[in-house]
Amino acid sequence: MKPAFRLSALAAVVLTLTGCASVSIDDALKETNARSEPFTQGKVELSRTKAQRDQRAALTNELLSRPLTQSDAVQVALANSPSLQALIAQSAVNLALANQVGRLPNPILSFERVRLNDELELGRLLSFGLVDILLLPQRLGLSRSQAEQAKIQLTGVVIDQVTQVKQAWVRAVAAQQALSYAEQVNRSAQASAQLARRMQLVGNFSKLQRARQQVFYADATTDLALALHAVTATREDLVRILGLDEAQATRLTLPARLPDLPKAPRDPQEVSKTAAQQRLDVQLARSQLDLVGRAQGFNLLGTFIDVEVGARRDTVFDNAEGTQSTGRGFELDIRLPLFDWGGARRDLFSAQTLAAANRYDATVRGASSQLREGYSAYRTSYDVARHYRDEIVPLRQAIADENMLRYNGMFIGVFELLAEARAQVTSVRRAIDAQHQFWLADASLAAAVIGRPGGAVPAMASGAAPAPAAAAAGAAH
């Protein structure tokens, strides 16, 4: 049958056409990298070869050799996290499926061997769905839409991951920083308790006075234990999200403190402008609307006619005559929609169009609302953290300084001095907490701007603000 299929030229053209239109995962990653540049510095890739994996392992090792900054943490996750690789690979699958839509189904080769008395008829039919070919432009469009969606989804997945990494990093560093203050409080409480014990021993304190100091130490010990666990828990969370193995995890060190607050908060104008350009959910909703529209057009056609076109080459061997004749021709099958004129499907699709259109609308409206809330959370946590930094902590320091002077003058005793010192430490802890909330809100806002607020940080948008406020009210500790 080798020379037989001139028609294969047609198929080749079609395949080329569809081949041109198909989107590779590398293209998708390129696009994701461009879209998520501020999140990833363009470092997203899918490791497929040993060389790639080695290179990534080397990068991870290098990054782990020093205290891991937040952006380093993102790089480690991109380079090292198997679950992120899995997500990217899954995206590659989705993309392949989308590409598939843009290709013609494989041609059908049917072979018939019919013997009638002396006649042997060999029938070979290479057939393509005619509609598939006729509607190739639509198929390509659909494929492109689906691929586009897959790409947006991939970007979204990457941004979710990066946001989670950033927040996990903030939590881990904050927990570590809080621990050092919990240790200070505990040391002071221990000193008070120790001193009180000796005071009672030599008869200067009653049992009651000593117990008061002792109970504070006991409480502080609980706080310290909880703070220690928080360090472990947040660190392990970070380890998981970075995908570190045991050896890598032992090498993970974090900076001693959270980054300072930015000099000024992000400008709401800049935020909304950036969001308007970047929101993935809006892009996705638009693309879905587009897709439904295309799908509808395509499938409505398909409802009416299901056509198969085939190239036919029949060879008839007449043994009696010793002849063989070859018949060539096209075969066209048309399935007539006698029983289903597609009304129901049309209803379905117009409903889907309507749904998609409304979803798009809702997405746009929701997006701006989410942005407003996200910005408010961000701004509130910034203001609260700055208030702690500029007002409360300096005031506490001034109180501590003045108390020291009062201790010098024997206006207050050492226990009062220690109690005030603990109060100062507590407000420093609250300040760290506020800073912690700010950096969470910052990551959350960055995600909201690009349109992934829900996925990345479900509780953050509304959760950021109350936490420091509660801390300020003295309820959090």
């Binding site: 002071s188 000193a191 001193l195 030599v202 200067n204 003045e402 009062r406 201790y407 003058g409 206006f411």
Partner: protein, 471 residues
């Protein structure tokens, strides 16, 4: 230094104390110019230049108000006003007083003098002046509402009476009294006898001061006026040791000290090295039969006492209230006792949190007198005063009577530290210290005890010398 300005001595003596925005110039024209005192130093006695002669007193860290004679009447002008009083070097208080200082100037008159006192109110609220202890017409007694209307801010009232009996007196407001006394409104009054009085000795030196108390939060400057008893500054004439001047006398001087108590508690005043007689009370000179030699006399609230002694022992003799908290300046009243508690090793832990922390009180509170650690702004050290042998570790109601052979008569200046004759200063014993007797048991009791703790408590005693020197 004499900053006293006598309005009688002409130009230049006029001060600008009274901006008088609220006091009519016309009304002022008839008044003696008020005289202002700008320093809290002890001023030399004001020798009377008009009126009947007398032997003037010296007001410790204070001064006597000059007067003018007007048709045989002694006219004084008191201006009630807010003042800043230096209570000790480096510590100033926002008080209310008279003529630039609190307490106000001492008023000295002679028995039988007709006295006219103009009182101008430059306080933010009304006031009045009660002439504590005087015989006078009821309407001159200065009780707001009862014997006169209040002197409104900006107004001037005139009090006029005859100083009928010689003795030691005070003046203070009788309007919003709690506040105005807590703010330092008070002054001394001495009525000298017209002629020799059988019960009133001629003396070489006659000192006066008021006992007063304030509650000023360390680091602040204005007294808390609601304090009832828990004052933290115990003062003489609104000065606290080491801000109180010494009482400098010549050997064998006959010395009189007059004290009035305007605090809320009594003060057992105690003089070292001499016995004194209480020669006068609120009622005037005491009958000789009631006098007995003492070294401490209690001055109750609202009382005056005058004591007299012959300064016949040379030296620097302590003179103070015997309530030991009254010889301290501001301090915490709720500070736990750290004596005997070794907490040096805990110090490092504490210093982690409180970097400037130092151990104090482990051996007692004397550390406080020795350590020169920074205090809150405008705060007097709880105890201090550098004597010739180290810190005196005192504050509050404490001063020194300095008796010197070579002090000139009429010279009130400080002669410096006493030069002890050889072999007259306590000295350290050389060689080993013999083991002293030890207390055995709690001793017998008058009655059997009931309801005692079930267990005999072992009280631990830590003695010094256990090897922790060098704080």
């Amino acid at each position: 230094m004499n900053n006293r300005r006598n309005f009688l001595s002409g130009a230049g003596a006029i001060t600008g104390t009274l901006a008088a925005a609220s006091v009519s110039k016309v009304a002022m024209a008839a008044l003696p110019e008020p005289v202002l005192q700008t320093t809290p130093n002890t001023m030399p006695p004001l020798m009377p230049s008009s009126g009947r002669p007398y032997n003037p007193v010296v007001t410790l860290n204070g001064w006597t108000l000059p007067w003018r004679m007007n048709n045989g009447v002694k006219e004084f002008h008191l201006v009630a006003e807010p003042v800043v009083r230096e209570m000790a070097p480096g510590f100033k208080a926002n008080l209310w007083g008279y003529n630039g200082q609190s307490p106000g100037p001492t008023i000295e008159v002679v028995e039988g003098d007709r006295v006219r006192i103009f009182v101008t109110n430059k306080l933010p609220e009304h006031t009045s002046v009660h002439w504590h202890g005087q015989r006078l017409p009821n309407g001159m007694d200065g009780v707001t509402g009862l014997t006169q209307p209040a002197i409104r801010p900006g107004k001037t009232f005139v009090y006029e009476f005859v100083a009928r009996r010689p003795g030691t007196f005070m003046y203070h407001p009788h309007a919003d009294e709690m506040v105005q006394m807590a703010m330092g409104m008070m002054g001394f009054w001495v009525t000298h006898p017209k002629t020799r009085h059988p019960l009133i000795e001629e003396v070489n030196r006659d000192f006066v001061f008021l006992l007063n108390a304030y509650d000023v939060e360390p680091g602040s400057a204005t007294p808390k006026i609601m304090t009832m008893l828990d004052f933290n500054l115990w003062s003489w004439n609104s000065r606290i040791f080491p801000g109180i001047d010494s009482l400098n006398v010549r050997l064998n001087d006959k010395v009189r000290i007059r004290m009035g108590n305007l605090t809320m508690t009594n003060h057992p005043m105690h003089l070292h090295g001499h016995e004194f007689l209480v020669t006068g009370t609120d009622g005037g000179p005491t009958p000789k039969t009631t006098r007995q030699y003492e070294v401490t006399t209690d001055v109750a609230v609202g009382q005056m006492r005058q004591i007299e002694f012959l300064a016949d022992e040379e030296g620097d003799w302590a003179f103070h209230c015997h309530k030991s908290h009254h010889t301290m300046n501001a301090m915490g009243h709720d500070v736990p006792t750290m004596i005997g508690v070794d907490h040096k090793d805990v110090t490092k832990q504490i210093a982690d949190l409180v970097p400037d922390y130092m151990v104090m009180g482990e051996r007692g509170m004397a550390d406080m007198g020795e350590m020169e650690m920074p205090l809150p702004d405008n705060t007097a050290r709880m105890m201090s005063g550098e004597g010739p042998f180290g810190s005196v570790e005192m504050g509050g109601m404490f001063s020194v009577v300095k008796v010197r052979k070579d002090q000139k008569a009429g010279d009130y200046s400080n002669p410096g530290w006493f030069k002890h004759p050889k072999g007259t200063v306590a000295y350290e014993l050389d060689g080993p210290v013999p083991e002293g007797p030890r207390q055995q048991g709690a001793g017998a009791a008058a009655m059997p005890v009931q309801n005692m703790p079930a267990k005999n408590i072992e009280v631990q005693v830590r003695k010094p010398g256990a090897g922790h020197a060098g704080h």
